[in-house]
Symmetry: C2
Subunit: 287 residues, 2 copies
């Protein structure tokens, strides 16, 4: 059984915000064999200059893949799918492969299928991020207080799952848990994707520039995530389309209900919704 | 022309969160004649014990009303309307009367009509608050960085408007501006009321308690205001019904549009909405 230790050889494929933050956290913990792949040479240069990787390449370096005991794919979902299709056969048996993808049902089977026998894919969703991307914004503090969700498939071994959980602990996540792919995708559709839909819709609902001067913290908080990476989020939405459509419809029902209560002047009905909301929200305060 | 100075006699009617915070800010600035009315004697006791008022009463004290040069109504809108109907005649000519109400079109005319000739009502919306109410949560720091909007009517004199603007400066507001009642109510329907509708609807859209464990900052930020004072907010919604219904319908259009783009798998359409959102949101960052 493989244990995670400071000489475990970990290859991070994709040195963007998350990949870069993984590398930063592991190097700070004293890991000595952190490898990185990136598309652009200047990303690799930056990673070396800032001590984020021990070896790296802007090419797909077969030797590094062969040496890696763990591979972390820190790529957009569709880029990940393309990568394993093209290069998955280079991964050696015994390698534990993981990812950072925010959608799971559509990822686990194709990635698993693209790996050679003996290499194991344990899908993970680290619920951490920033509004800005790129390795120059990498920051391992984004893992503090955050959730790290392991989403095993039936094909996973307990050993490989545990190794990925250990990685989450080393990275500094506050809470490590397991969910099934369907549970994960429903949860993420509600908590993450629907909230982004709402924030974007709110920003699109007015083009009055004068509003800026009167904006309070409520509006700012509600629309902070409306600055959105359109390439990544449109992909995540479409990859989790069915779960997200269900959540959007449930949300639309509630807004329409509130609209009708208001139009009818039904104060007691409005208050009842507000009371339900207040009671539920109190459970979500940070402990 | 009246100038605001440390011996200006100011009566605050209603010592809740806002009234209490007004009193706290003015006492810290060295004002020596701050009077307070509250419904309950223990509120008055608390205000005295904490040095928030110089004189006060749990009754409607005619002598204090007569002595006041300025009266600030820090009451819920319907309570304010009832108060001036019942006691407005006690206010002396020359008194400048102001308020803290978050809706304006439905307030300005009736309050103005209830005052004796020579007393002047200048309506103000201080855009500050907390999720918790009551004098024990009063805190003058809520005014730092906040907007203070003066909403004059055609009946106001420039002198009385300026006096109320001076009050905003003394309280420590960051930005003092003027809007017409209609401009104010449309703006507030979008920036404040719609955001509360959205947060409440989002909380009402799921009763899955397991979600709490996976909640990230996005969801917490988006629903912070979903803990809502149902008595106050249902009143504010209904008092600004027409403007709020317009804003809700515009928002619903945008959510439905995004829903249809997702259902159609229209990635470019989704990205376009996200780009609009990102560009607009960037204007709302705190300077």
């Amino acid at each position: 059984m493989m244990h995670l230790h400071r000489d475990t050889r970990i290859l991070i494929v994709g040195l963007g915000l998350l990949g870069g933050s993984y590398a930063m956290a592991l190097k700070k913990k004293g890991f000595r064999c952190i490898y990185g792949f990136a598309r652009r040479q200047d990303t690799i240069d930056y990673a070396f200059e800032h001590g984020l990787i021990d070896e790296g390449s802007a090419e797909v370096d077969e030797d590094l893949i062969a040496r890696a005991e763990m591979i972390v794919f820190a790529l957009y979902p569709t880029v990940l799918l393309k990568w394993v299709e093209e290069y998955g056969h280079l991964i050696r048996p015994g390698t534990v492969v993981t990812d950072v993808t925010g959608v799971k049902s559509c990822i686990i089977d194709p990635v698993t299928a693209a790996l050679p026998a003996g290499a194991e894919f344990v899908s993970v969703h680290p619920m951490a991020g920033r509004e800005v991307g790129g390795i120059e914004n990498a920051d391992d503090r984004i893992f503090e207080g955050a959730n790290y969700i392991v989403v095993p498939s039936e094909k996973n071994t307990e050993d490989a799952i545990r190794l990925c959980e250990d990685l989450g602990r080393e990275l500094g996540f506050a809470r490590i848990s397991r969910l099934s792919p369907q549970e994960h995708d429903d949860m993420i559709a509600f908590l993450s994707q629907l909230t982004h839909c709402v924030a974007v819709s709110l920003m699109c609902a007015s083009d009055d520039d004068r509003l800026v001067a009167y904006t309070g913290d409520s509006f700012r908080d509600l629309t902070r995530i409306a600055r959105i990476n359109d390439e990544m989020w449109s992909e995540l939405f479409l990859l989790n389309k069915d779960a997200l459509l269900r959540q959007m419809d449930t949300f639309l029902e509630q807004v329409n209900k509130m609209r009708d209560l208001l139009a009818d002047g039904d104060r007691e009905g409005l208050r009842e919704m507000m009371r339900i909301s207040t009671a539920r929200r109190s459970k979500f305060d940070k402990k």
